[in-house]
Symmetry: D2
């Protein structure tokens, strides 16, 4: 698709995902024990034959740049193919940081404009879904819209969490309502079953359609809108104005799994769904894979283990343990006698060498999970050091935090590089 | 090491490894569920900073070429780095196939001679070991030898299976005896503990030293020896003649694991050793890894499984099974109620799509292992289709074969792409 | 184009291009001072979004393999993208060399058949043209043909050199005549201006249409034809039989430059045309480039030179010379006082280091062209060493040859690596 | 060299090189018609087997990131090899831009510290030289220094432009004087011929040694110095303090060409020296090349041209012109009847398509140089559009500027993307 320029909005500091975003930008948060959030929109682009991709971020941009440059290097025969991180930069004209997603696009416009293309595809870095964007772009072209947006059918009971689109019977958008809660308003936003049928879908009743944060803009329209304003936020200001200004804004229905990984709870639930035999989102598709940094790691070695609904990434060593409904991420080490239940173990960035292990300070455990531990309802971020006999059981306590951990949304999050000494008990049941 | 040109002798038809070599050359045989035999010498070269590597083969060369070109592409900054398969080719001067390993080197000499280097490093494609060749090459240079060969201490009881080197007390080789069996001859070949001590090793008693098939030749010496003869085999003719001609041939002692994967039994044993907690050969070394083709595969998904001494490669799906002391290779599928013991499952080259599965001929199972199977003492080559209720139990019966399988060295080998229908019973206990 | 498998027939020994094919296969012959013949069909494939490409050759296959593996490595996101050389190989079933292009395809069928695709695109390695194969394949699909072939309008005076297609008024082929010379036969083969007009072309009069050697076969059709016969040649046996058997064989008209580089004369003329301001075939197209191995070479350095219709590849050093209507290939060196006219200088594979130069045997010049030379009407193959005061002037003498050179088609060809001593006079005017 | 981490200081806004730095950071300034300044230190690193390279910049960082990610992608077998641009980023701890080179290193320390290494190699992005850093690092290790710095012998007459090192007779540095002008001070800084001789150099007389801005720091020393201060500039504050604090600071003599491209004049002179037959700095070295982004461009096409001391990069089209002592950069176009003397033509980032040319606004020339132009003593930045009949002749006028040009250091600089209409006369002689 030589006509398309993809721009992925990296978003802000990701406070709702804190502490996973303590040392990294939101798109760099690890997913499913092997991937990172940014791999989803990039892979969707690649599988849609879109190979010019910019990612905008200024918060902890270096680690994202590192991941992307290791994982996504294209051959020279794609001509203009690239995935480029655009961090904030100082120029002759501008000495400021990005002030929001729309400001980031405005400041970086000159990097897009040197290319030839017709449409901007504007994406987020924190959604889970599989989409062939070519369909959206073709629908955009065929409807002769200025702006198109992917739209998700959502039952009226759930719409207070979404931005909701008011459609006419051809799918043109005449209003955009952010997180409606008034039942009367919601009733007006309801889309009748006839509309869904006219789009070749099931005749949903009692449904609205929500903005998925996946936009196609005609190049001229977006550049004019950005340059003619000083709006800071893309989803909250630029897109609503396109509707308000009576531009031709069209909704393109999407059916399938789509999830906004906005909170610790949503992140945790999405990860644990991957272990199901038939998960809502599958990484298994040899023709349209979800890519990531391909590593040279050995198979996982499992000794005396009972595992039920567990995914093992590469390079794990698990000894004499019981594992249930958990993600075991790359290079994870689990000591004998341990139990892991309902947990997301992100794994490690590297193996500790024998010399490093020999020189650990007193009381600092090795990276991984020691022996005789019980981990339940937790997220262990990368390189966490869990000592022997540690018990972590999540529960619905109030949000709180300690040295290297946080209880949030009822889930215990062990921070990246955290040290949890032998015998620690974090029980919130 | 800009002074070194590595040449890996792919060997002949690999009859002792048949049927693993039915559709592939010996260096392309899969290892450990993820790798291929050729990955071992190539990785040793890369970890020794040797990046000019030719692999000679004419038997099923295309699949080896494919693996190597996918796995080992070097960046442009290495100048002359490459791994090139040299298949037999017709030229103005020669219209013949390779007649042996020495003939293969002779026929391909012009491809090496265009480079600048001082030493040939001649390797085999079917050994398992980890070696820093730089030490061997430095010892070669320091001793001012014409030829150096890596030498393994072997107890006299085991030497009838080896090529044995007769050494003086400085490590110079004065005789080479292929597979000696006469105890008197062996006694003469014994190397005293003083020699081992002089080399900084333990003072082994009752040991000889064996030829490991890892040679360093001065460039001029080897080219002269090849061009001045019509010998066909490298290890059996060229190297022995170097000794017989009183060239300066030196032995460089190696300590550590080294295994010749020459037979089905040796192949099987070497694979099953990888599942040990402390295996003889480890793929785990983040600084000197054993490389292979890096793939985009999801984590393995394990549901209701008890596993003991098992390695899982990427992309497996195992359901409700009992696994013990086995290798589970990439993309393996194991159906519920199955038991796998003491087996090497090589996995699959690709996932079958739903359409393919829907169109299988009657009686043809899906790729993988069906439900309620019992597999014990077996090697399942790639893409084998094992139906439901299949029982395979190896045993010490005479060599025999059936449709898609072979009993060899007491191990059942299911051939690549074989179809083993529902309910098949192959029990040789 | 995931439905297409491209197979490039490397052809035989290339005797009509000898001595350019003395040390290399025909597709590896250097072109335009920077490229090789094989770069043309591979680039056309890449620019047509076809990325599964096999090249069949057994004659001097190693150098072709080397060029292709250096130049055409695809990123991992193309899934099944590759350019693979298939050299002859021995297998369990077959121990023979390729006996012709059809036999080569038959012997290598198993390598294609493991992929999913619908059409074979069969190409030659020795034609110069720029074609978007997607148009041909779409026409093939729309006409529901079994076989389609690209067809070139050729004036009846020139058809004795071509394979000529007899068409009905829809473009279906009912006969194939190889090199017709009888005027009556040619008259019958003439295609009226109405046909050209019906295809949206100019109403050529007195034209036939010729087979360009660019075929699309339905997968099943080609596999059945190959497996059901023992034909050896593709263009002379398999394709004509498709016509003779009344399969649906369709012609797809092509307009534009197409040249078969079959002889020294054709090769020479095609090269010299590249220096024209508006050449028949242009390498200049940043969107659909002709690729080759990208090298790190410095700009060409030109001192006191007058040049008219000359192309300079990278890394040349030309001193105090007069150059006219010539190709100056990579790393060419031209000494002071020299004149080069109407010549193709292929350049050098590497620079000679000062040490190498210092150690040349007496009378052996450096690589390149010495001082005070006159080169006219010649092709200098790679790494030729032309001494000082050498005069080479081609002419219409009978074919003849000497030490390192050959007069063929009235052109002097200096062989690869040839040594032409100081003062040599090769004048055939 | 696994023990070394290279950090290239991208520097500030590059005001002395303005307007070449108007749209790019200093390390991204084009050099020699094909390269960029940053290619020099990166290539020196690669040729010294140093493959972990960070480049620090915040000013116009995106274009530098783009060049580096296109040009310097390493294969996966180098383990930790990379060239990473570190732009300013916001983190949990820091929301500020870099305040100087030392501050930039301090802010980015956490990106280096995750690696294992012993020495920092700190480099600049705006010097031209060829150095094997391994010698410097070995000398550093052998002398057991805390800090080592490459030192250039400079005649006392020229030292007022340099930072000068005061040495004892073993090369230890006891004082650092920035740009000394007092002859007495200079006399004290003179290093006697005995010292040069003791270092194996010629016995220079009347020479001092200057700081080349190439530093090796022990890891601990540099991290302690950065974290224990709030110094902003590396060369002016951190390094002098190392001397002032009596750390073990050692000078390592370098002989050869080294040039600081700090001004328009220095940049111009360095470029024009490349056209000499024996230039001070050569890009010609097939074993230690200066790398850059390898492009797929055709040979340069030269018709009716007389050229003397000219380098042609790839893809130029030059017609009926006279060129003398000039750099002709990639994709340059020169119209008939033009003369180019003593000029640096940087070329173009892409070819203009026929459609673009057809749609140029009235009075806007095509990219390149029109016909009947005279360009002398000028630098034409990338994509400049020089109309027909333009005359540019530089001279020693006062610094001044106009629309798209600037006279600086007596050289006319045409800005990137500038439009110079037909008939413009810029004559300052």
């Amino acid at each position: 698709m030589r006509d398309v320029m993809a721009v992925i909005l990296g978003g802000g500091r990701g406070t709702r995902l804190y502490p996973l975003t303590k040392y990294r930008s939101k798109p760099a948060v690890p997913l499913a024990g092997t991937h990172r959030l940014i791999d989803i929109p990039i892979s969707n682009c690649l599988n849609s034959d879109i190979t010019r991709i910019f990612v905008l971020t200024q918060f902890n941009s270096a680690s994202l740049n590192r991941h992307v440059s290791l994982a996504y290097h294209f051959d020279a025969f794609r001509r203009e193919g690239f995935v480029n991180i655009l961090a904030a930069e100082q120029t002759d004209e501008n000495m400021q940081w990005f002030q929001g997603t729309a400001d980031a696009m405005r400041q970086t416009l000159r990097h897009y404009r040197r290319f030839r293309f017709k449409h901007y595809l504007v994406l987020s870095g924190d959604h889970i879904y599989r989409m062939d964007y070519r369909k959206l772009i073709r629908a955009h072209e065929e409807s002769d819209a200025d702006v198109s947006v992917a739209a998700l059918p959502v039952h009226r009971d759930k719409v207070p969490a979404f931005g909701v689109l008011s459609l006419d019977d051809k799918g043109w958008i005449n209003e955009f309502v952010e997180k409606p809660s008034d039942p009367e308003v919601i009733s007006k936003l309801e889309v009748g079953p006839e509309f869904f049928e006219s789009q070749g879908k099931d005749p949903y009743e009692g449904y609205c359609v929500a903005n998925m944060g996946i936009y196609v803009f005609d190049r001229d329209v977006l550049e004019e809108m950005l340059l003619g304003s000083s709006e800071l936020d893309f989803g909250k200001e630029v897109f609503p104005r396109a509707v308000a200004e009576n531009r031709r804004v069209h909704a393109h229905l999407f059916e399938g799994y789509w999830e906004d990984i906005g909170t610790i709870k949503a992140f945790y639930d999405a990860n644990l769904d991957f272990v199901e035999i038939v998960p809502k989102f599958s990484f298994y598709d040899e023709y349209d894979p979800i890519y990531t940094h391909a590593r040279f790691l050995p198979p996982s070695k499992i000794t005396r283990v009972t595992a039920d609904k567990v995914t093992f990434a590469q390079g794990c060593i698990v000894d004499d343990s019981y594992l249930r409904r958990s993600i075991i991420g790359i290079r994870s080490r689990v000591g004998r006698g341990s139990t892991i239940i309902d947990s997301v173990i992100m794994g490690a960035d590297e193996y500790e060498t024998p010399e490093v292990k020999a020189n650990l300070a007193p009381g600092v455990p090795e990276i991984g999970i020691g022996h005789d531990c019980h981990i339940e309802g937790a997220i262990l971020d990368k390189n966490a050091r869990i000592g022997h006999g540690v018990r972590i059981v999540a529960g619905n306590g109030p949000e709180q935090q300690g040295d290297g951990w946080m209880l949030r949304d009822g889930i215990v999050v062990i921070e990246k590089d955290a040290v949890i000494p032998d015998g620690t008990q974090l029980i919130f049941r």
